[in-house]
Amino acid sequence: MNYLLLATLAMPQWLQKLKSDFILNFVDDDRYMYIVKGLIVTAEVTFFATLLGIVLGALVAIIRSTHDKLAPTMRMGAPKVALKIVNAISQVYLTVIRGTPVVVQLMIAYFIIFVTSNNKVLIAVLAFGFNSGAYVAEIIRSGIMSIDNGQFEAGRSLGFNYAQTMIYIIIPQAFKNVLPALANEFIVLLKETSISGYVGLQDLARGGDVIRSRTYSAFMPLLAVAAIYLIIVMFFSKLVTMLERRLRNSER
């Protein structure tokens, strides 16, 4: 009798059950690949949606705060009308996105807006990116608004125009202030992408679910998926905490 067999025989029954469950859910038919591939999809969607969200959010934040700051003192004319229009569009965007569940937005994107496209990853990136952009916009806008107006006046009094003042003086300070909040938004987004299965995208959560449906055993695959999310989230939370400490220390 070899030692391995001995060891197996010596295992308590629950441990043996756990081992066979593990083999059934992850090893047989290479089922672990559902998890691996799902993780890659989740990472892809989260990464590109975050990028889109930040670009879109920054744009909307700048439109909104420019409107609030400049519109009251602008002379009537084409620039003022244009600003009013893009501001109105931004406000509709913020209201609709933040007023409806993200899962419904995802389904509308897939089944209505992009019904002719079959690129599920791209559709998910667009849906989550547009969703995230609304929240990022409010984060960045609050960052811009939190900068003392004296900073703005100091820039303008040196001769910088509005855009230069924003670029060289306001945005760098605002961005530094909201970096932790933006990082948190990334974590929220990562977890939110777990609803991608609603449109048949095989992300991490759906990967676990597929295994469950094949093996009729829910415990292992779902707990494994939960554990992976948790580890990733804890890792990034730790990064955010370190970032916050760094920023506090460099607080000048």
């Binding site: 004296g150 900073q151 006046e153 100091a154 303008r156 009094s157 040196l158 001769g159 607080e251 000048r252």
Partner: protein
């Protein structure tokens, strides 16, 4: 248009109203500031001193009236105010240094971006100015590492980096601990002696008396009295001015 080359700022019928015409922050101000003059603007709180000063570089947009800066109407839609502001430095009560930039970068940002000055030239100029205010060793410091008096001296030389034709000060020493007021006033005095044109809103009557070439006493958005320091301080005929001076002196 005034063709007098000695006049740097020419203000006519300047009005600034808030809430329709409920608050008359400035109510028909007419005055001129000539090259090399140091004009001290005094008066009780709420009398419109800041609004007047901030109108001069269009941080406040007047309700009515004209302001000529070097013979250009600053409120005209054809005027590029950003270019004019390069020639009018401003120093604020709360310094408004850029906290994310070092002292050196605070000073060189505007000349490099706006005047396209080279990094070397800008840093050389900054070092000379830092020497003038005895802060040459703080070039690499960040604003939070400076005392109030040091911050204000940096704010002054930051404005000087643009080689302005006039400097506007809005209560430059009001936010300072008493022991730091002197070091800032000394810098301003030195600038005055070098012939810099300045408009200074201040509660420092000693400074106004000693350094100003003209004193403007404001009240309720109007110029209640203006004259040389002797005329204003030595024998105040105006009752309100007497009351005001009794309070601040």
């Amino acid at each position: 248009m005034s063709a007098n080359n000695d006049v740097i700022i020419d203000v006519k019928g300047l009005k600034k109203y808030y809430k329709g015409d409920e608050i008359k922050a400035l109510d028909d101000i007419t005055t001129t500031i000539k090259k090399g003059e140091v004009v001290a603007i005094i008066g009780p709180s709420g009398s419109g001193k800041s609004t007047f000063l901030r109108s001069l570089n269009l941080l406040e947009v007047p309700t009515d009236g004209t302001i000529l800066f070097e013979n250009t109407d600053i409120t005209s839609p054809e005027t590029n105010i950003n270019v004019l502001r390069q020639k009018m430095g401003m120093v604020f009560q709360h310094f408004n240094l850029f906290p994310h930039l070092s002292v050196m970068d605070n000073m060189t940002l505007a000349p490099r971006k706006l005047l396209k000055m080279s990094k070397d030239d800008a840093e050389k100029k900054a070092k000379d100015l830092l020497k003038m205010v005895a802060l040459e060793d703080r070039a690499r410091a960040f604003p939070s590492q400076l005392s109030g008096g040091q911050k204000q001296r940096i704010a002054i030389v930051r404005a000087l980096m643009m080689s302005p034709d006039v400097l506007l000060f809005d209560e430059p020493t009001s936010a300072l601990d008493p022991e730091m007021v002197g070091e800032v006033l000394d810098v301003m005095k030195k600038l005055a002696q070098e012939g810099m044109t300045m408009a200074v809103v201040t509660h420092e009557m000693g400074f106004a008396r000693e350094v100003a070439s003209r004193v403007i006493f404001m009240e309720n958005g109007r110029i209640a009295l203006e004259g040389t320091p002797e005329e204003v301080f030595n024998n105040p005929s105006n009752e309100r001015l007497k009351t005001f001076l009794a309070k601040v002196l």
